[in-house]
Subunit: 434 residues, 2 copies
């Protein structure tokens, strides 16, 4: 049977991981497919310095991506350069040229995925984007195919390995965020500019893609309430542990009677749940289905070879479809805007909350805070403070009964006018049932 | 676009769950596929007593499965009667008639999956068998597609919900196996004849299918060393907890330099691992890939609607392939017998072991046991005994350093000739690295 030929644009971490997997597993891939995948062209600005596995055979090496797209032998273009500007040009040019595309680009697919799918369907080619979310976890295949028959009610993820590494290190060593971040940067787990990761934007891009697939909606990162982990303190873990909880950066998409509520933010989750067992630079996704009930998926969120496996698995699927002449005919994004899944504001979320206060040492403060909460109709569940010897230096915590987030915000706004607060209260939702 | 028509043979738990999902999710399924799935025929020996959802529209009701296969409107036959005799006739007749098949039948696919796939490929039809393993977890889609680009090094699963429920109840309440089993039977979590579950055969069938897909081999349940959970005592959990372990029925397929080692047996796993967090009637699968590293999948192992989701998701995939005229052309079983993955005997496994002894109260017994172990080249890691007040009544435990199972068996055989043993020692592997 005739082979399917691949051109790879971008030879960074993911591109080289893809080449390794294609080269090392070539025989097994051919056995599974019944035909071979062959790399015919690779492109990088510094292609001459890149280690191209010899086992691939003769390969066109170029620093002009247009040469890959134009190469008449190339059937599928792999876009693994990242960013949204040139990457979009590459993807659109390949589709325009009637070639299928596999991409690992979460930002691009989060921002323009629905449009790119429409173009691909219009041109009768196929797209793969498994590697764009949660590297080694085949969560898009799961949503698109594995549990396609179910209706997703909610989806929760740990989608940023850097944040999960940092949070679990704070937890393990009782070390402040800034110090753990520096160590993570030294080890290569965090970028020199960590904002995309630690401020939650990376997780928000991934959640936008997952939620689009799960709910069949066009969802933009701007629909997602996004908070990072910079304010999480070691003492928050101490309070969380007192209640048998821990803290993770949770990306959540929940279908409520009013609409779809999307958020990325540090959250308390019960120690007993499987999600709490996700430590270090791993990712995980929890899906709650109407009929299939709870399913959970866990694996490497990034890394050269795990992401390479995602790219290659996508290539195999796309190659099968090329060989059988059957591109996907329905976009996995925004099948049809049904309306019932419209994103709505996080203020409509009902949750228990963890509120951490740092205040001046005066009598009557808990009474004043409790009064504000009561005025907004918020019931207190518990007031926690660590042992008295440390009391003057330490913040204390109030947890609430289930509360509408807009009521909480009104209470926090009113508290912010009180002069005894040393800093704005820090609020996190408490997810007991994950 | 023209619909794809379905005939369902078997209206037990899974058949009715499938009808519920098809009926309740009909609109969403059509949106995702771009065409409808329609149920045209259902078959059960007691079809007239079965609650067929009205939303399905007119449906042929019969108690002769041949009428479903022969119905010219039916494109895909769903076999959910279970067992291997009639089920095999149904599946083979449907394939012979040029119809695709979706089955939830683990025994049939474990025993005859490779042959059935060969027939299906010969007839140009497709097969789905997602529901045959780990009901709500789309693990076959993951292996077949999601991580197809990787090479699996090992695979570990909790594949029998009944056993997992029983073990976690023994753990939680310190109650003996027999009492928990009776309670499980009362609650409907265990069959009146529980042997298939508690003796490990059900898990072995599922492991045979998973391992065949993961390693591309023909693997028979008889290739799998299978032990059930009847000998696990509450005190085993107490000893396990002392070492920060717990006990689960672990189905394992490991690639070693000598070949593939397959087993289903109660095993100690570290409390810290995600697999230890799988409690109650859930299933989970842990896959260790050469390039993708560790991934983990969790969900309902059985149940009407979770298994119904698996059947319907398979139906959607098969229906897409029918519409595009592209059946699978390579069997997911036994792509090609490569030889390197030949199943070999469990005696070649190297593992740490937990050995529980019940002995007469005499001096010098530990010395004698230790001498036997030393003679076989087995190093002791620890000797554990619960607090002295209970000593006379309680078994004690020896754990070993990594040991070849054949050495362990030789030692146990020699010990069995010693007259101070009240019962044969009970051995479980200790899986620290799951």
């Amino acid at each position: 049977m005739q082979q399917v030929n691949v051109g790879i644009v971008g030879l960074g971490t993911v591109g080289l991981g893809t080449l390794t997997v294609l080269s090392e597993n070539a025989e097994q891939i051919a056995t599974k497919l019944g035909f071979s995948l062959r790399v015919k062209a690779v492109c990088s600005r510094t292609v001459e310095t890149k280690p191209i596995p010899a086992g691939l055979g003769p390969v066109q090496k170029t620093n002009d991506w247009r040469a890959v797209v134009a190469n008449p032998e190339v059937d599928v273009v792999v876009e693994v350069i990242g960013g949204t500007h040139v990457a979009r040009e590459v993807v659109e040019a390949a589709i325009q040229a009637g070639k299928s595309v596999v991409t690992a680009n979460k930002e691009l697919m989060a921002e323009c995925g629905a449009d790119i799918w429409d173009r691909a369907i219009g041109q009768g080619v196929n797209l793969g984007m498994e590697a764009s979310v949660a590297g080694g976890i085949p969560i898009l295949a799961v949503l698109r195919e594995g549990i396609a028959g179910d209706r997703v009610n909610s989806l929760f993820g740990i989608l940023n390995g850097t944040c999960n590494y940092i949070l679990t290190e704070i937890e393990r060593h009782n070390t402040p965020f800034e110090m753990v971040l520096m160590e993570a940067q030294r080890l290569g787990y965090a970028e020199a500019d960590p904002a995309m990761d630690v401020d939650g934007f990376d997780a928000a891009s991934k959640l936008a893609i997952l939620a689009a697939l799960a709910f069949g909606e066009r969802i933009m990162p701007s629909d997602i309430h996004t908070e990072g982990i910079r304010r999480v303190l070691p003492i928050d873990f101490q309070y969380a542990h007192q209640m048998e909880y821990t803290i993770r950066l949770i990306a959540a998409a929940r279908l409520t009677p009013a609409g779809l509520i999307l958020s990325v933010r540090p959250s308390l989750i019960a120690n007993r749940t499987i999600l709490a067992g996700v430590r270090g630079a791993y990712n995980a996704v929890w899906v709650r289905g109407q009929f299939g009930e709870d399913t959970f998926y866990y694996g490497r969120g990034a890394g050269s070879q795990p992401t390479g496996v995602a790219v290659v698995s996508d290539l195999m699927r796309v190659a099968r479809e090329i060989r059988s002449g059957s591109p996907q005919r329905v976009s996995p994004f925004a099948h049809e805007r049904l309306g019932e899944y419209q994103p709505i504001s996080i203020t409509k979320l009902k949750s228990r909350y963890y509120l951490r206060f740092r205040v001046e040492d005066r009598p009557g403060i808990i009474a004043r805070l409790a009064t504000v909460l009561a005025d907004k109709g918020i019931s207190i569940d518990a007031v926690l403070q660590l042992p008295e010897e440390n009391w003057r230096d330490l913040p204390f915590v109030i947890t609430t009964q289930p509360t509408l987030e807009e009521s909480l915000r009104a209470a926090l706004a009113e508290m912010s006018t009180h002069d005894y607060l040393i800093e704005a209260p820090f609020a996190m939702p408490m997810e007991a049932r994950l």
